[in-house]
């Protein structure tokens, strides 16, 4: 089955650790929402229409995707077991919404997992391009090329005044949501993030924790994305987000310097304790793992920890989640058993110093 390849606990290329500012800006995502002209939106279409939409979109990508130098794997959502769906969600390759779809839906994944095209999510098409590090322009370029290619073969619902028509009024216009995932431990520790979030919101952008929409971001990881999709061009949206992200990165750097200057031993103690927890625990909850991962990541950035590959930490952020652990253990696990499996995973993984670029199986 095509899906097996994507369920393996190995690194997608967007989890690698490449590029400038990657110590703070971990990954970038562009999403384009598109719909076909002659069909109702997924909210109101029939199963028959859902099947037709799925077939129409999938066949373009499968038959002609090679023109773009991509090979796509087509995975029907209703053929997946619950756990498999959850693993794909944890890997950010499908959305929770698609996993719950009542209609025929699918996902088309590129081999390197940087491109994921969801069919019959909230819109007929959701093109998603993921990149490691802070690469808004590049991620957009990839999504845009695919979009332009699809548009030649499909008839998009487009309106002269409103732009790309979407199910939800919050996506109309460009249909684009661009986001950057940021690790902001120093801004969080110094409570400056609480002042920053409302300021960012006033400029048409939104900040949230990556594991949900709660205000407290688990593991000090935040996602910043554009809120407006109407009235600004893609170029302007990306520019604004890029400028804002750069400013946040600078603020985080200043906060790190201040903490390092004022209480170096407190910080080093915290970093080293967290490393100890990750490498020696026998039970690790998600919260504790996320907090310690954040500290260790900061420790690597500040050169307090040497000889540890950051990309392993990126992978662990993904693989420590419940569905992945169960997939890894090949067994359903109770919460306590998951904490045990999580601790084992961290011990095994962090005692290895390097990982090859292709990613390798944990087994």
């Amino acid at each position: 089955m095509a899906v097996e390849r994507f369920l393996q606990p190995r690194a997608s290329s967007w989890m690698a650790n490449n590029g400038e500012n990657v110590d703070i800006a971990m990954s970038t995502r562009i999403r384009l929402a598109r719909n076909l002209t002659d069909f109702k939106f997924p909210y109101s279409f029939t199963e028959d229409e859902a099947l037709k939409v799925d077939k129409e979109i999938s066949s373009v990508l499968l038959d002609k995707g090679s023109e773009l130098d991509y090979t796509f794997s087509h995975i029907s959502i209703d053929e997946l077991a619950q756990l498999q769906k959850e693993v794909l969600i944890e890997k950010h390759l499908i959305s929770p919404y698609l996993a719950k779809t009542q209609h025929s839906g699918s996902v088309l994944l590129s081999q390197n997992e940087e491109l994921s095209i969801m069919v019959n999510e909230e819109d007929h098409l959701r093109i998603q391009s993921l990149q490691s590090g802070f690469h808004l322009q590049n991620a957009y370029k990839i999504a845009n090329e695919l979009d332009t290619f699809l548009e030649k073969n499909l008839s998009y619902a487009f309106h002269e005044k409103y732009g790309y028509l979407t199910s939800c009024p919050t996506n109309v216009g460009t249909g684009m949501r661009a986001s950057v995932m940021l690790h902001l431990p120093a801004l969080t520790m110094s409570h400056q993030i609480q002042r920053l979030i409302p300021a960012i919101s006033r400029l048409g952008m939104v900040v949230r924790g990556i594991y949900g929409e709660g205000s407290q971001a688990l593991g000090n990881v935040y996602q910043i994305s554009n809120q407006l999709t109407l009235g600004k061009s893609e170029y302007e949206i990306l520019q604004d987000l890029e400028n804002m992200t750069e400013q946040i990165i600078q603020q985080e750097r200043k906060a790190r310097e201040a903490i390092l200057l004022n209480s170096p031993s407190t910080l080093e103690d915290r970093v080293c304790r967290s490393l100890g927890v990750l490498t020696h625990s026998r039970l690790l909850t998600t919260e504790e793992a996320a907090t310690c991962l954040s500290d260790v990541r900061l420790g690597i950035d500040l050169k307090m920890i040497q000889d540890m590959d950051m990309s392993i930490l990126n992978e662990l952020m993904i693989f420590m989640q419940p569905a992945f652990l169960q997939q890894y253990a090949d067994n359903p696990l109770q919460p306590k058993e998951r904490d045990f499996a999580r601790a084992k995973l961290f011990r095994e993984r962090l005692n290895k110093k390097e990982i090859n670029s292709e990613g390798e199986d944990l087994a």
Binding site: Y164, E213, I237
Partner: protein, 177 residues
């Protein structure tokens, strides 16, 4: 005060409920309050869900922002009414945008910082169509001016040009040729 439910612990939460126009007051301890469903229901809902924001901004009773459109706010291609849209926060099909058009400016303004028009990417095929449509609009304006100035020959020439462009629109131009 003692909790109305368990009659054991001290009450620390007061719950006011309105049912059939009657207001009842319950005094609960923190444990019973946590178990009280009517309280939890309020918290379970995502306060930031789009449909909730929409129906709070535009209550169904006042759904017709533009009263003239009140009678015809049902989309013929998907049967969605404007009220459906407000309740769900979602459109039913691409045609809804045209059907509800007179009401949408107000809504989009609130979601998109006052913006109501797209300025970004245009699909190549629509790009050609849009260009021709804009040209036709311009020619029609010129035609009106010619007629008012009684330059009928010029008006006839412009009319023919509009005709030519219109047939181009109906023909291949829509496919991006």
């Amino acid at each position: 005060m003692i909790c109305d439910q368990c009659a054991e612990r001290y009450a620390s939460v007061m719950v006011k409920q309105q049912q059939h126009g009657q207001i009842t007051e319950l005094h609960l301890c923190d444990i019973c309050a946590a178990e009280n469903q009517s309280i939890n229901i309020v918290f379970e809902k995502d306060p930031l869900a789009i449909h909730q924001l929409l129906s709070n901004w535009f209550p169904i009773s006042k759904a017709s922002i533009n009263p003239i459109r009140k009678e015809i706010t049902t989309c013929p291609s998907c049967d969605f009414t404007f009220s459906n849209f407000l309740q769900l926060g979602k459109f039913g099909c691409p045609s809804c945008y045209d059907e509800f058009s007179s009401q949408l400016n107000e809504i989009f303004k609130r979601f998109h910082n006052g913006n109501t028009e797209h300025t970004g990417k245009i699909p190549a095929s629509y790009g050609t169509t849009l260009k021709i449509k804009k040209e036709i609009e311009e020619l029609r304006k010129q035609m009106q001016v010619s007629i008012q100035g009684e330059h009928f020959e010029e008006a006839a020439r412009l009319r023919d040009e509009v005709k030519m462009l219109s047939s181009k629109l109906e023909g291949g131009a829509l496919n991006g040729s």
